[in-house]
Structure formats: structure tokens, C-alpha cells
Amino acid sequence: MIWQIDLIVLALLVPCAMAAIALKDMMSAAITFGAYSFLMCLLWTEMGAVDVAFTEAAVGAGISTVLFIAAVHHSRRRVAKRRVGRIVFKLLGLSAAGAIGIILLWAASDFPEWASPDIPPSRHLSPYYITKTLEDTAVPNIVTSVLADYRGFDTMFETSVIFAAGMAVAMVLRRRRGREERTGRRVENGFARESPIIQTICRLLAPFMQLFALYVVAHGHHSPGGGFQGGVILGASFILLALAYDLDFVLKRLNEKWTLILANVGVLIYASIGALALLLGGNFLDYSVLSRILPATTPVMARSHGMLGVEIGVAITVMAIMVLIYANIASNGKYDKGL
């Protein structure tokens, strides 16, 4: 909690946001938006939210920016000049934003004092999580234990959200090659010629990225990390190769059918661990009953192992879906050479 960093970053965020919206060149807007995400990540690290910052760095600053650029690549790059004024919409936007803003500021006048350990959220529920996490689950990273155990049900659905998004993108965009579509003017980027330096470095980096990702997943119990972050980094290693070479390069190694299978398998692992708990007589996702089948574990350690299992499931799904979404957007559904 270093308030000077807080002040500076917050002050930088607003111009970044306004620039991202106002820029006429979509590539610049996408990059500015990536910078905005990165500043958010800094802000949250400074406020102590390391897992959140980790995820935002991977997902927001990384994947979102790449998806944006890939999408813009397939459509127009410049924002067109407006032919007709949009006064009505602008007024509507200003008044809606203004009204909601006033309500929110009015609400904020009543908020408890910021950053004090005495406010209701810090007094009511979270002390239980903080004091009991080691005793209940043997996992020091409280965020992981809440995410994967106490509120593990939410996380299962969160993984299903990612899964649904992948399916949605595939269903909306996917088409077989051969049908002509109306293309607008596409900017041919002259600097995307293949560079052996980039290709070699990326190729060397990829296995280290993947190793790091596996570490993040496995060590999520003790350090910031976990299934999502690890999964995104795994997916990013493939996307990096696709950017350095072309989409075909990745698809030869991880084709469409396998991404679909892996996406399903990941969430299935999660839901099956929960269902296994059901069949063993406990409630859904009650890992402690897993100690009946796992050899030589107490119920507490069974929770820790159950958490690891679901985190692995999450990582597999997230990796597969990231690759799936990227492949669809980068190739506009055609699964050809792509970007």
C-alpha cells in the first residue's frame, strides 16, 4: 500500500481510458487499451491483489490485446468519419452516465473508511478464511483456497463461462473454406514479414513458458497463481508461436479437434471431482470425502489434493479455449494461415 504509486497510476488511468476510446486508428486504440490493462495490473499489485493482477496481466493485457488486434486485422482499421451527427446518442450517453455517476458518488459518501481493518467486509467473513485456511485445507494461498474450495462452485461455473465463450466463438465464426466473403479494405501490414530472429526466439521461449505455466498451476497453493493464470500462459505459448510463424504451424501440433476435446476434458475433470464427491456420500464438491478413496490422506489433505485436481482441470480448459478463440478470430473462422 504505497499511496504515491496509487495516486500516480490512478491519475494515468483516466487519460489512457479516454485515449483508447477516442483514437481513430483501431490498432493504436487496441495498444492503448493494452496499456490501460497493464496500469490496472500495477494498481492491483500495489493494493495487494496479486492473484488478480496476475490474471489481469495474462488475460487483460495479454490475451485481450491480441484478440483485439486479430479482430481488427480482419476488418477495417480506421474508424470511419461520421456522416450524420449522433447528437441524440451522445446526449443519452452523457445523461445516463451522469445520472449513474451521481447515484454512485452519493452512495460512496456513506462508505466505511477505506483501508481500515475495521470495516464490515474485513470483520465479518474474511477473518474466518484467513485464520482457518491452513487448518481446513492446508493451503497457504488464501485466494486459492477460497477460489477452489470454499467457493469452488463459483469457479466451476466460471470455467463453464470460458467454455461457453469458446463454443460461442466457434459457432458464430466457424465456416469451411471456399465461400467468398465481402472484404473491406484491409491494411496490409508490411512489417509482418517472417523474421527468422523472432521465429527462433519464440520457438526457444515456448517450452520455458509452458514449464513456467505448469509451475504456476502446481505452485498455486503456495504462491500467487493457480489454474487460470497457468492455463492462460499455456495458451499464450501457442498463440505466441502462431503470431511468430502462422496459425497453420500451431494447428499442425494442436488441431481443432483436440482443442475441443481438451476444452471439454478440463471442465469435465472439475465437475467429475465434484460428482465423485457426490457418489461417495458427501455434498457436491466436498473434497474431504475423497480421502476415502485416496490412499493415506486425511480429509484436510484430501481438500488440498482435490483443489489441485480442479486447478489442473481449469488450466486445461482455459488453455484449449484460449487457443480456440484465437484461432477462430485470427483466421475469421477459416482456420487457414491466419495472422
Binding site: 476510446i21 484478440l67 458518488l105 477505506w114 488464501i142 472484404t183
Partner: protein, 126 residues
């Protein structure tokens, strides 16, 4: 100083949210609307993370628990509130999922109409 900073934090999140909301409603280009949507969602995340902050507290990982052995009594005031972090992990994931779907739909619209400007699309629909 802390007092002004406390209010400052809340003002900025409201301001960011309003920027995002304005962009979603008023902007013509569909991509700009999607950027506005993301800004809107990240502003809400700033709000939640601000709830979690605690003066002088450290990250929510129990110290000294890495190795085997007894851990001293845990004082909640030493660690930042972990619950909003968990909620916001979910919110980030939901945000990127919506972004992916929105981009896919924009590409589909472009395939169909050849433009991503709302007013021209509405003209073609008439």
C-alpha cells in the same frame, strides 16, 4: 492525506465507469463500444479490490507456511481481505469471455455488411 486518497479512489472508479458507459452508448464504431464495455467492467473490479485493501497489510498468502512445521497464530489484520480478490478473478474471466464473444459477433457483422459503424449498419437494415 489518507483521507483524500480514500475518496480519490472512489471518484476515479466512478469516473472510469462513466467513461465506459458513455462509450458503450454514444460511440458509433462497434469496436469502440467493446472497449467501453471492458473499461466499464475493469472499473467495477477496481471498486471491489479497493474494498479489500487494508492499511499496512500484506498479500493474502500465509507467511511461513511453506515448509513443514508449526505456524504462529494468524492475525487477520496482517493480511489483505481475500474474498473480493476471488470474486474479481471470476469477473475478469467473465469479462474476457464476453470480449471474445463480442469480437466474434463483430467479425460476423463485418462479414455481412462490410462495415463496423453502427449508423451505416442501421441504414442497411432499413
Amino acid at each position: 492525506m489518507e483521507d483524500i486518497l480514500a475518496r480519490y479512489n472512489y471518484w476515479i472508479y466512478v469516473l472510469l465507469m462513466m467513461i465506459g458507459l458513455y462509450a458503450m452508448i454514444a460511440k458509433n464504431n462497434l469496436y469502440k463500444k467493446v472497449i467501453g464495455m471492458s473499461i466499464f467492467q475493469t472499473a467495477i473490479i477496481v471498486f471491489y479490490v479497493s474494498i479489500a485493501a487494508k492499511e499496512g497489510a500484506t498479500i493474502p498468502i500465509i507467511q511461513g507456511a511453506h515448509g513443514a512445521g508449526l505456524v504462529p497464530a494468524i492475525d487477520p489484520a496482517v493480511y489483505v481481505n481475500p474474498l473480493p480478490h476471488v470474486l474479481m478473478l471470476t469477473a475478469i474471466v467473465v469479462g474476457v469471455s464476453t470480449l471474445g464473444v463480442a469480437l466474434a459477433v463483430i467479425l460476423r457483422i463485418y462479414r455481412q455488411y462490410g462495415t463496423v459503424e453502427e449508423d451505416r449498419i442501421l441504414e442497411k437494415l432499413r
